[in-house]
Subunit: 429 residues, 2 copies
């Protein structure tokens, strides 16, 4: 039998465009060597030799992509939700992240995190670790074991943070990144490193400059945070008075798109200039709606970003966000966009189910390449959703069942199967 | 053994005041004949003859009160979330409610609803049925079987709705209420009738007048909707041009507090006059944060209502809200209050965990009498929460565990036991 080659049968949905779903009831999804060959109403002759798994009336959708979350914060999600960003970092986040110097603690915590992520609907994720190289390697080991496809970053920070998390200035901090990269190079099949300046306030210019050089040298991608909170933005302006906008700080050092594939979390309060810079340089935005509520940051103007043609995906931002579920994340994205329309700007109509589904699949997926839909040539990540417990009374078409799954996944949904790049992943304990 | 008399041991939390929790780790909660005798660090001699159930380190909290939800809408929750109130009513709600004329359908749907509510964390609820008296009796039968304490209303409406739901004008509609009341009188132990004009636009003045007389005659409580959506409010002003505010329509006919115990759902856009009228007449507000997002209604100014001293509780408003979970409802109430603070009025600081916990227990509970806390003399509704799956790594105090439970209940929580007015209710299928 050809490796990672098979056919799935069921009610198949994926995003054709930002606002249109492809729905094929009782269709055939063909996977050859981990790559989708498309969805068919009748199984073509050329694929009839492949084994078929028939999922009956269940929904089959692309895997969900979480463009931003923090592995070490999973332990305390849901805590300290009465604070804003900078106080929350000092009170909960930095003390917890300090614990990951203890490798036994890191092993226990990251195994729990990786297991839960494996059992979730997320197939790909872009993940922050801590400043600790060895603990971050343990995180990567755990995620590799989960079968998910991930980018994982050892955090870099050398100022304005808890003493026991602050790395040596500039070159010393960079040395720690190199050491970590050296240890993990070639070690994994599914797990890749990503450069991770925590956010501008905790990085000296020397460190940012070194990271920029390292990016040029290695071609590695970059993740960080951008324009999340008003106090944070004022602080960045004080620390980098020469910058024309927050994003300009990263851009100045070559850590903001262009040759450096980059994802920036939040962008709640980006200026016109910053948004235009992101568009021009192909920077991805990880929209994290629940986190932006939890930390009282505000609502990111996603409709406007879509109109401008920016690259967008969704993120849970655990533990700014409390929930690991990308279904919840989609529902939250719809909900905050309605409040944005009602309370901020009535020209920006709310996001539709189709649009947030696109963001969680193709939108975020494109950070990983040809990922996030079932068209010919895309890597095959797929979920099989069992909604029996939410459809016992009444009858619903496939689109309606998908919409309801977004809202009811945690209460009544069950993930019956999960495939990542053509590999089936165990989802039940 | 004395009926409904027992002791529960565990980590016990309840609201002392709007912003202070009482927490007793490894305490004893005493119940005599369904009434709480308080929480003790050591079990008093007088209660040592009672049987003790030791729940170890688990959390024991008061039952949660859902002040507003629609039984017949449970079947299609999570659907049509791209519409505003009036379109959503016409497209999804009225067609679905029409199906409850079929008593077989009603039986099937209401059994599913009552079973799920029984297994949820809700111990008391104020529930809308449909216009159908017989179907509403089936709903009451099902809820009586669940062991929950509920108010249930046959809906009254005689204008501006789907033809097959419109009752005969005024007196005819009132006759249907009387017939329903006659059938259910004295039938139930836990289930009480409540007068239910759907909302002002679907009620003629003749009907409202009749309902007001019936209220005076019977002393029954009243539930309806108020100031949810801007188009709705304009419509009310057109229909009742003499009214000084939306609430004035109900008040004019004696359906707005005072002698008539009343709960009004939403109050997102209440004027100063309306809020003051609610305060003066003791009208309860059912704050339904998720519904107000889903239907793009806005954010109710709950901080302001608390400052004014209004009577407040929380509601899921299924199916304007998609989720039955009152934990989710509390988390949503915190979240939207943060966006209100950030986007609308920075003098109204966000609701705290303590405050939303108060609203979901004592706040809403007081609509039912002495309900919602464990102080001496209150009816004993209690939940035993198992958070093992969310505390495997790290260590948390009881307050922290409670806060995390609000955010993680659906993902990782398990309800281990539930008591309503001293009766233990089965929560696992």
């Amino acid at each position: 039998m050809e490796k990672n080659s098979f056919v799935l049968r069921g009610n198949i949905c994926y995003s054709e465009t930002k606002d249109r779903l492809s729905i094929t009831d009782q269709g055939y999804l063909v996977c050859e060597h981990g790559i989708s060959r498309g969805v068919f109403r009748e199984l073509p002759e050329a694929f009839r030799h492949l084994p078929v798994t028939d999922y009956g009336e269940q929904l089959i959708i692309p895997g969900l992509v979480d463009l931003h979350l923090h592995g070490p914060q999973y332990t305390f999600r849901g805590l300290g939700m009465d604070l804003e960003l900078l106080d929350w970092l000092d009170t909960y986040t930095f003390p917890e992240e300090s614990r990951y110097e203890d490798l036994e603690y890191a092993r226990k915590a990251y195994q729990s995190f990786a297991r839960d992520l494996q059992e979730s609907a997320t197939t790909r994720a872009v993940v922050f670790g801590t400043v600790h190289g060895e603990a971050t390697e343990i995180l990567m080991d755990a995620l590799e074991g989960s079968g998910l496809q991930t980018y994982v970053g050892k955090v870099s920070m050398d100022q304005n943070c808890a003493d026991d998390l602050r790395e040596g200035n500039g070159k010393a901090a960079l040395e720690a990144v190199r050491k970590w990269l050296h240890r993990v190079e070639g070690k994994y099949e599914h797990t890749k490193p990503i450069l991770t300046p925590r956010f501008a306030p905790t990085c000296s210019e020397a460190l940012l400059e070194e990271l920029g050089h390292l990016q040029q040298e290695t071609g590695l991608p970059v993740q960080s945070h951008l324009s999340e909170n008003l106090s944070e933005i004022r602080w960045v302006k004080e620390l980098f008075p020469w910058s024309s906008c927050y994003g300009d700080v990263y851009d100045h050092f070559g850590l903001f798109g262009g040759e450096a594939k980059t994802v920036m979390a939040h962008c709640v309060h980006s200026t016109e200039e910053e948004a235009e810079r992101m568009r021009a340089k192909g920077v991805f935005i990880a929209h994290c709606p629940q986190s932006n509520m939890n930390l009282s940051s505000g609502i990111a103007p996603i409709r406007g970003y879509l109109e401008k043609g920016l690259s967008l995906g969704l993120g849970t931002d655990v533990a700014g966000g409390a929930n690991l579920s990308m279904f919840r994340c989609m529902a939250d994205a719809v909900n905050v966009s309605k409040l944005y329309w009602r309370l901020v700007d009535q020209t920006k109509h709310p996001l539709t189910m189709e649009e947030v589904f696109y963001l969680a699949t193709r939108g975020g997926g494109s950070f990983f390449g040809k990922v996030g839909c079932f068209e010919d040539g895309f890597e095959l990540d797929a979920l099989v959703l069992n909604d029996d417990a939410m459809t016992q009374v009444g009858s619903f078409c496939t689109r309606e069942r998908l919409e309801r799954y977004l809202y009811l996944a945690e209460e009544k949904g069950r993930l019956d199967a999960k495939y990542v790049a053509g590999n089936q992943i165990a989802v039940h304990p």
